[in-house]
Symmetry: D2
Subunit: 399 residues, 4 copies
């Protein structure tokens, strides 16, 4: 695998996760319980039972509650991504991975006991209610457009709004809802914890999307008069945007880790195909048109691994890593997409059929170029950052 | 629309087809009878009834049997592609369009009466049995690897082989089967007509593929001891490769025509989205990151139209247009793919959901880069051609 | 050649120009009088003598003063571009070609006699003083930033300003100067004709640039207290921006025509190299890595020709063709740059040496992506145009 | 700067080199003694005097003869590349850097005293005679085509052959010549040391090339009956291909290090330009069309640094790093070329003029995509390697 293990414990974990995915999870890829909205609840339960049996549930959080460093996490999550079902099986998937991370940092002991524990054990799934519908000018990539509001009413919070693209909402037991709690000059938001399902949190529909690996799919959700006690506030009131920042870069990076695993597997399949299949008198890989694509894959995969390791190191050094995680998200999502596209092309008809997972990996990574902030939004913020630094009269890079 | 109408009759037809697609067909795009293997037989029948009602069934073949010129066809087929359901509705879709073209050129009067008539009327669908499974080293992009064989036995042809990616086989009434009939030094093949379904032509399974607009999907088919009389031979014995050439360039080009329509529609949807949806204080289209993508679309769409018009003109001049149709297929499939990809990206979350057809157009055109010869195979033959011309001591282009 | 001749007269002219360039001009490419600021005045004179001898001076303007249609011009100018020295030799080069076009449309009979005649005969060169220095916030791609001013003083115009990137200023006999003559709300400008050299028009320096085909190079010019009589006004006072528009699209397009010729020639050289030179056991062209690049060239060259023909047709129909010429300029300059870059790469060490013209063509076309409006400025205006059309509730393309 | 310093000594050296380049060397960039074949001998001497004064001559080789590790070297050489004149000034340039490395590994003590010493002190320059003319089917990227031969004659070696693209031959005091010494089944070659200039080593001409930073340029050289004693053999007879391998990867990598510095400087200049220059009402950098290009630069530069650090680490671990240095050479040369191209584009007219070094950096890095093995040759060998690994039944990447 491409991401280096920075410690013995991560090396052991990574090896065990890799074996588990390759030997136990991969055979489930053609299980008919995989559907357009991800694996069924039953299939998820079955996979998780196997992971628990092998002591691999939520491998990046140690039994004592300690979280692996980001560099260690990278090695483990990459391996978990070798199958589209891997992250679901070992509970390293989005949005739960990010939600567990956030709860670990911000939740009260009571909230941890109520919510975090069952997420870490793999017994429950969670959802993160942030994105809002474009067609209603809600908050997509631009959080300043947040429209969902929470107001105090008789000591209780009452929340109203519409959310969309809420991954895993269907079937989740825990929700974290982002809502505006102050709309004075500088808007402030708060995060709330809610047990799901809840009558005031209505899944209007599960969207049909190009990707299909996330259990529960992505839903459009109406929140109508949801009443929550003060204890439902996650962390501090008005600190929502701050917490979103805390969650942001690591969650963004963990996407990169998992998809690197998936793209690596697609590449392995394509290399296998290209060495066995012949055309015009020789194996496909001996055609430069094919061999060069695979060489490009090798480079893109390696560069993705290096960017992830670098960004993980910056996070581990205590930085918020906003710039670094934007750079990494753009570089990795675009590179892995090129990899997946080349795998499809190398495999020809087989590449566009669902007989291998290459076709699914291609679709998933297409979505990844948009999820967690489209490439363009990240470039926009990188340009703003460069301008800011330069406006101080300094154009040097990487001081 | 982007393709010019070279005659009054094509202009009128094109306009009527465009109105029919936009007004009548588009509303069916969200019909639940659209599935992963294309629209259901019932939905196809319903759409065709409407097309027949409006006198638009098989619009590129006139009531007197005359075929529009390729330049005229281009204008009409582009309009039919404005919806993924359009070509099915008005019977300009693959593989029927190419099959009707071939039968028109090669079939005996009896064969025309038996087979062509019901295809032109839209009463039946057909399939073209050419491609063979890669995993068995059959003929994919390299026809010299053809493995299906027909041998004479007591005055009858007996055919055995395995075919795959047979578009529309499931539900077809007419089949054209390509089989080796002579494997001496220079292999020769023959085409056979067969009524479907037939007990010796077994659909092993309908493949699940990334695309989903073709009724009947793409099937893997076993042909086991299929016995056919001499009258089943299409045209001449041993002339199969020649007929494949006759069908090749026009069929390849008609793909380009239809997908140009689809990509144009996706672009229209993306422009509509980008002018209405706001982010970071202004409409998306006012962000250069978005506006430039749409400008690139405009150029790619126009260039695709020009390539199609050019290649159609070469065909109409009587040339086989092998080089020109290879150039056009590569240029158009790659350009339209970039267009579709940008449309997805411009629309963000909405682009990867199935709420608009943009997501489907993206998937369809991804497959188009492989169907009818992957980009790489065409470049390979273009390079061979250039070498041949150059080896005569002449490196001039476009003499 | 790639651009079709739409008439017999253009066909004959095109053929004669092609022969002249290939047979007579090409041998001068290695003449030591070619320098970093283009061919020397002496070399220019020598080449033009030959062109005049063969009756090919200014071939797109007929002896009776009639201008070929744009479609005819395209065929002729493409052939003239087969050598970087070609346009200079037969007087189809920028900026003279555009200046002659403008004078033909706008100049008074006296001005035509004084200026146009000697330009058409090839006896003199001209310059167009429009662009202003970026470092002084002058008019680069944004004409609204024009800073050069002309004011009336005692019945005479007095002009002050600084211009830069003035192609051919060094050695020109005729200048057209663009200056602001009214800076009320909607700024207005006027064009002036001036005999050169003139003591008030000082060439501060000839810039060293990446390109090297234009005689006289590109200069930075100070205009200090230049006094001109009313008769020096080209056309109407205050109509400068309008005339700039008249000149704009055809001049932009003629760049495309000439560079298409150059890139075609580079491609011919690269194909010749790739068929003769061997590596790793076979001719370079048999390596797909090389053959595919040449196939891509073929497609890019053809598409460029088609875009030029299309835009020429739009101009010939009487349209201003602003949108079409922006699309064409972007598409052609970027495509030809890819062609030139691939030619360099195919030829390896020979590609980066000046032993063939491929290296020069590469440098010239690199500049072409910026001259006459960088790609980005054209995309920006295309996006604005799309928004305008869409804001009228219509998102259709190519109606 | 982008490459991390892995030790205190490298950090100090890197900082001193950076200051020296920025403060002392950069002002010499506009010195008229910079010509098409690099800085003149006089300018080189002047710069080296300054470097010696500041104790920065050949900074990657310590006074005791110890060579910095590759990881340390990377940090130092990157800084030296901040100016195209930097590597010449501090003696980290090609081919001397690679030649010194090779001599340090392979030369006898006598050879080190005779040749290495004066190279390390900066008193002399050297050349590496490997590449042969394509037009004579000599060894370009394919060393198996080596045509220069050395035969024993009366106890002396007599060498004949033609070499081309010999960087720095003009003005070099030391030459290393690669010649075939055995052409039995597996050809064997030997390296020879020769004092230059030598009457039997004739510089036929200095090539005019797109790049212009190397002192002495690149020459075509005829070797006619060059007689050398046995002591002229570098290392062992017949070990030439082996030594070429020893030199190969580190020399390839040091190119990447230096050009990363150059591209970084070009990016700094472009950012400075984009924040100061305005168009269409705002600073260029506020146009997404520009800001996104600069964001892409940031990512490409970082990825290049990470690849270099990675490959340096592999070399430092004792590996030959053939695969890793091929991957790095391709990734870095292509990425830095994109960076340089974007810098040119961002700066518009200023980008194609020689008023800043951006234009030169662009030209230099264009050549870098070919020098030291064109991109395509590296991809070819990567594909071969993948096939070899896969043929052992293992398709896993990065095991």
């Amino acid at each position: 695998m491409l991401i280096a293990c920075p410690s013995q414990r991560s090396e052991k974990l990574a090896e065990r996760v890799e074996s588990f995915i390759r030997d136990v999870v991969v055979p489930y890829e053609r299980d008919p319980r995989n559907g357009p909205h991800g694996p069924s609840a039953q299939l998820v339960a079955e996979l998780r039972q196997l992971a628990s049996r092998d002591g691999l549930m939520t491998p990046h959080i140690l039994p004592n509650g300690e979280h692996l460093s980001q560099a260690e996490t990278a090695a483990v999550l990459e391996r978990s991504g070798l199958s589209p079902l891997g992250p679901v099986a070992v509970n390293t998937m989005a949005p739960d991975e990010g939600n567990m991370f956030l709860l670990g940092k911000v939740a009260t002991p009571e909230q941890k006991e109520l919510y975090l524990q069952k997420l870490v054990s793999g017994a429950a799934r969670s959802a993160f209610f942030m994105t809002e519908p474009a067609e209603e000018d809600g908050a997509g990539s631009d959080p300043s457009m947040l429209k969902t509001r929470a107001r105090l009413d008789g000591g209780q919070w009452v929340i109203d709004g519409t959310k969309t693209f809420i991954t895993g909402a269907d079937g989740a037991s825990v929700g974290i809802i982002m809502a505006l709690t102050d709309d004075s000059v500088a808007a402030k938001a708060t995060m709330f914890l809610v047990d799901l399902p809840h009558p005031a949190v209505v899944i209007e529909r599960v969207l049909d999307t190009i990707d299909s690996s996330m259990p529960g799919g992505h839903s459009r959700v109406a929140i109508r008069g949801l009443r929550l006690p003060p204890s439902a506030v996650l962390g501090e009131v008005h600190a929502g945007f701050h917490y979103a920042q805390v969650r942001l870069a690591p969650a963004r990076l963990s996407h990169c880790m998992r998809w690197l695993g998936s793209a690596t597997r697609a590449h392995e399949i394509a290399v296998g195909y290209a060495t066995k299949r012949r055309a015009f008198g020789k194996p496909l890989i001996d055609h430069e048109g094919v061999g060069f694509m695979l060489a490009d894959n090798l480079i893109d995969l390696k560069q993705s691994a290096l960017m992830i390791e670098w960004c993980a190191g910056v996070l581990d050094s205590g930085s918020r890593a906003n710039v670094e995680s934007s750079m990494t998200k753009v570089a990795v999502s675009e590179a892995l997409y090129r990899v997946a596209d080349r795998c499809v092309q190398v495999m020809g008809g087989s590449g566009v059929s669902k007989d291998s997972i290459v076709e699914q990996v291609f679709r998933e990574i297409r979505a990844f170029r948009i999820y967690d902030g489209p490439t363009e939004v990240h470039k926009w913020s990188l340009a703003k950052k460069m301008k800011k630094v330069a406006s101080e009269g300094d154009y040097r890079v990487g001081k």
